[in-house]
Symmetry: D2
Subunit: 324 residues, 4 copies
Amino acid sequence: MIQPQVTPQLLDEYCDRFRNWGKWGPDDEIGTLNYITPAKVIDAARLVRQGKVVSLALPFDTKGPQTGRFGRVNPIHQMVATGTDHVAGNQRVLSFETGPYGFGYADDMITMYLQTGTQWDGLSHIFRDGKMWNGQEARLVTSAGAARNGIEKMKDKVVTRGVLLDIPRLKGLDYLEVGQAIYAEDLDAAADQARVAIGEGDIVLIRTGEMGRRLRERDWGPYPAGDAPGISFTTAPWIAERRIAGIAADTWGIEVRPNELPNAFQPLHLVIVVNMGLLVGEIFYLEELADDCARDGVYEFMFVAPPLPITGAVGSPINPLAIK
Amino acid sequence: MIQPQVTPQLLDEYCDRFRNWGKWGPDDEIGTLNYITPAKVIDAARLVRQGKVVSLALPFDTKGPQTGRFGRVNPIHQMVATGTDHVAGNQRVLSFETGPYGFGYADDMITMYLQTGTQWDGLSHIFRDGKMWNGQEARLVTSAGAARNGIEKMKDKVVTRGVLLDIPRLKGLDYLEVGQAIYAEDLDAAADQARVAIGEGDIVLIRTGEMGRRLRERDWGPYPAGDAPGISFTTAPWIAERRIAGIAADTWGIEVRPNELPNAFQPLHLVIVVNMGLLVGEIFYLEELADDCARDGVYEFMFVAPPLPITGAVGSPINPLAIK
Amino acid sequence: MIQPQVTPQLLDEYCDRFRNWGKWGPDDEIGTLNYITPAKVIDAARLVRQGKVVSLALPFDTKGPQTGRFGRVNPIHQMVATGTDHVAGNQRVLSFETGPYGFGYADDMITMYLQTGTQWDGLSHIFRDGKMWNGQEARLVTSAGAARNGIEKMKDKVVTRGVLLDIPRLKGLDYLEVGQAIYAEDLDAAADQARVAIGEGDIVLIRTGEMGRRLRERDWGPYPAGDAPGISFTTAPWIAERRIAGIAADTWGIEVRPNELPNAFQPLHLVIVVNMGLLVGEIFYLEELADDCARDGVYEFMFVAPPLPITGAVGSPINPLAIK
Amino acid sequence: MIQPQVTPQLLDEYCDRFRNWGKWGPDDEIGTLNYITPAKVIDAARLVRQGKVVSLALPFDTKGPQTGRFGRVNPIHQMVATGTDHVAGNQRVLSFETGPYGFGYADDMITMYLQTGTQWDGLSHIFRDGKMWNGQEARLVTSAGAARNGIEKMKDKVVTRGVLLDIPRLKGLDYLEVGQAIYAEDLDAAADQARVAIGEGDIVLIRTGEMGRRLRERDWGPYPAGDAPGISFTTAPWIAERRIAGIAADTWGIEVRPNELPNAFQPLHLVIVVNMGLLVGEIFYLEELADDCARDGVYEFMFVAPPLPITGAVGSPINPLAIK
C-alpha cells in the first residue's frame, strides 16, 4: 500500500485533525485516558483467566539503555545503610549506637532521570509552539515542575485492556531493522493474526524486537535517541480512529528513526501527545510477554501500569504489568 | 483480652516459631509472596465489579512526611528541560539549536530515598544478628546493593486480593492516638465488621488514621520514625496463621511506637521480615479508600502494587492500586 | 547619622548609578573581580607573615543551615563503597572479585544545592527585569545552565587581600540581633578599629555573629531565607566607591532582613550583583577567624577562595581560606 | 638504570618501610600534611612574584573523563530555578508570586561522585587488609561516612609550595604513552631541568601529558581506570625520602597502568596512602600551568588547594590554584 508522503503540511494537518483540546473540558489533564471507563476496567479484569503476571519493565540499573545521549544517564542507586555496616557492628539506629536485639537494616536512594527506563511520557513532556496538551501554555512547565498536565494526574487512570502487537513475529523476523517503519497495515495485520480487535480505551503495546536485539547483543548501540524501528508518522489516523487510551513500544521513542519528516525530531509526538493527548510509553520490555503470547495465543490482557504520583513530573518510571 | 507481655524471650520465641526459612527452597527471595498462586490472582481479578480504581500513594514531593529523621528527606524533583526554556526560544534538542517544527520538551529527574514515601520494604531491608530473609547473610547487602533478596525479585509478584481493615472507623474514632496498639482482636473485629475473611495470599491494609490526621493538621509531627499508633508485636501469630502475603499501613513503620519491647527498635520487623519473609508496606495513603469502603461496604478488592525493579534495591516507592 | 529612606526610587537610582555594564567590555563575565590585578595578588601574598591558615567554610553535612525554605536542603553525602564492605570480604574492584593484595577502598557521592552552605553567588544567580550582569539576557540561563556569567569564569580570579569587619565585636556584642542593619558608618568604624583601610580589589568579610549564635544555640531558627542581621541597602555607595572585588558575610543572604524596602526581596542584590557585578559570598564561617583576628590584632590577610569550575553553574560551594 | 622488580615481597617491604603510623600521634588524621609548617606556608607565599593565578581544575561537567568505569559518572548539574522561568513571568520567590521589583534568580544543584574530576583522595579512601591510615580500622568507614580520616580534617592544611615536574617536556614528547612508567630518575631529572629542589612539605605535581592528549583527541579512551602512563611503584622511596606533603598527576590514578605488580590494582596506593599517609591528587589539569612554566622558566609556586569540608567524605572535588 502506498503511504502518504510525510511533509510539513501533513504534520500541520494531523495536528489540526486529531486535536482533542477541549473534548473533555478545558481543565482536562489526562487526555485519552478518559476513554477508560469503569466498564472498561471491569472488562479488562475479566481477561484474567490464567493467573499469570508478566512485568514489562526493564531493570532499573546501570546496565540500562542510556549512554548520555539526550543528556540522560542510567539510574544511580546509592546505599545509605548496608548489611556490611551491620555485620561490622558499626551501624547506628536513631539513638541506638548499634541496633538493639540484633537489629540491623539497609536503606537506599536513587538518582534517576524519570525517563531513563521503562516509562510514561506525561502530557507535559512535549510542546509545540508554546502549547501542550489541551492548549495549556508551555510556560506553565518551569523549574518548579509542571503546574498543569503533571504525571500525578494519572495516578489512578492506567488500568485497562492491553493488547500486544508483535510486529517482527508477524513478519517472521527476530527484530525489525533500524529505520524500518511500522504502518497501519502492519498494526492491523498483527491484530488479525493475534485475533484481537483494538477497541476504545485499549493500550496498545507494539513490539519491534529492538530491545531484545540490543539485550542479546549486549550493546545498546543507537538505542537511546538514535535510529530505531518504530511506528510511522502515518499511523496517526489509525491511532485516532481506534480511540485507544495509550500506546507503548520497546524502543526509546516509539517513532521510526530517522524520522520520516526531514529535519524533524519526533514529529508524531507533536500530533499524539500535544494534540491528541495520548499516553505514550517507551522502553517497555516486551520479550517475555511476546514469548508468552506466542505460546498461549492470547494477545490481550489486563494491563495495570500506574505512574508514581511525583507532583509536577513530566514522566514517570513504571513497572507495567500484563495480567492474564 | 489479656495480651502477652512483650519480652526479649517472646521476641526470640516468635523469631523461632514463625521462621519460614527454607519453606520455599534455599534460594527463595520472595517469602510470603509465594502464597499468591495463579488461582489467587484470578480470584482477585473477580473482585473487580464496579470499575473503580483507587491510588494508595501519597504524592511524592517536598510536602511528604520526611523531616530528616532516620536520615531521610523528601524527594527532590529536578527539571532538566522546561517549557519556559522552550518559550524563551532557548532549548537545544540533540543537534538542533531549537526544536524543529515548533518542537519543545520538558524532562526531569528525581533524587529520592526509596523509602521516603509510599513503599515496600524489601526482604533485604532488615537483618537480625547478621542474617536476613531465608537465612541469607547480611553481608551480601553492600554499597553495591543487595546481592540477594533485592526488591526486583518481586517485580511480577504483587497482584492479589487486598483487604482493608479500618481500625479507627471500627472504634468510632477519626484516628488512633500515638502509642495506641492494634491487637489481633482488633484485626478480627474489623474483618468481621467489614464482612471479609482474611485468606491465604491476601495483602492486608491496616488503617490507623494517623496519616489522615497529619495531613489535616498540616504538620507531620512525629510521623517519620517517631511515636505512632500501629500493630502490636503480639499480632505476629495472627499474621502467621492466616498465611497472608503482605501487610501495609498508613504509618511510617506499621508497628506501634514506642515499641512494646523496652529499648527495642521495630522488633516485629525482626519477626515478620527477617524470619517470616513477609512483604511490609508503609506510608500508604488509605483515606480515600477507607471513605470509599465505608460508602459501598466493600472492603476487599484486587490489589496491584508492583515495586520498581531497581536492581539490588532494598525497598521501592510504589503507587498501589485498589481496584474494585 | 540619618540614613536615606529606602524607596523604590532609591532602588532604581542605585541600579543606575552603580551599573558597571560595559566597564570591562561587552563580553566581561567576572565583574568587579577585574579590580584584582597581578599587583594586588602579589600584595595579598605579602600579608602571609605567620603561616596561619583559617578555613571559612561551614562543614558540608546534614547539620547545615538549610531547612527546606527557599527549596534548599542540606547536602546528602552518599557512600558508594565502604570499609565495611572491604572488611566483610565483599567488595569487587573492577574485574577482581575482591581487592588483590589486601586492597580495599571507599568512594562517595554528593547531592547538593550549590548554595546550600558556604558559597559564592555567580553573576548569573540574580536577574532584574530580564537582565543579568553586564546587560546579558536572563533567558541565557536555562535548564542547561548559564550560557553566560557562569561561575566557572571565576575559577582563577579569587585570590586577593581579605579584610574582616567584625561588627558585633566593635559594638561589644556577641551577635547582632535579627533585623539589625549594618550601615556604612559601622563598616568604617570597624575598619578603623581594625586599623585597615579598605582598598580596590579587596574582598570584605562582614561578621554579624548570626552564624555563631545559631551554632551555639544548636537551632538554625530563621537562618535560611528568614530574618537576619545584615548590611543595609544604603551601603551600596560605600561598596561602589571602594571598588572592592567582593563581599561576604556569615548570614544566608548578606542583606538585613526584613529587607528595608517594603515588599521587596533582597533588593541590594539587584544593585550589587545584577548592576555592579560584585562577587557575593554567603554562609561564611567567620567565628574562628574573628577570634584569631581579635587575638593578634591583624584583620587583613591573603584570601583564596576559588569556586569549583562547574560549567554553567550559578553558584559554587567553596572552602575559603584566610592566610596570615 | 635498573629498576627493582615489583613483587609481592616488595609491596610488603615498602608498606613496612614507609609506614608512618603513629609518627604524628595515634590520633593523627592528616598524614604527611604535617610536613607543612607555618614557616613553609610563609615560604610558599614568598613565591608569589608575578601575581599570576592558574587553575588546575578540569571543568566539572558532562564532558569530564568518566565513562561509567569504576562505577563513576560525570557530574550532573541540575537547575532548580532559571532565567527562562523569570522571563516567562512564572517564578515564585518565597511568598511572592513573582519576584518583586523585577527580582529574578537562578539556583542549582549538583549530583557528583566526589572523585569524578580534579580531586584529592582522602586518607580514608584506601585500605589494606582492614586498615587505613594511621592503623585505623577500615570498618570505621561505613555508609554513614568516614568516622576517621575524613577529608574535612584537611580543610585548612593544603597551602604550601608546589612544584611542577613536566616529564614529557623533559623528554621532548607531547605526552607519555599508555603504560609508560616514570621512575625516580625521571623525577630527579625533571626537577634538575626545572632548577627546583624538592623539599619537605612540598606538593609535587607530575605531568604525564595524558590529559592534554585525551582533550585534544576529544576521546577519553582508557583514561578512567584503564591503562595510563604514571609513576612507577618504585618511586616510593623517592617520595618517602623527600618528605613531601602530597603528590598529584594529570591521570586518573597517578600510578602507571597496567600496574607493574602482576594481578594487582593500584599497589602504590597501598604504600603511600594507607601506610605513608600521603595526600594524593588526581585528574589535575596541568596543561596551562605547564605552558606557563615553560614560558617563564619558573616551576615552583604557592599552591592552595583546600578540599570542601564534606563531613566524613573520603575524597573531595577541588579547584587547585598555582599562584606565582
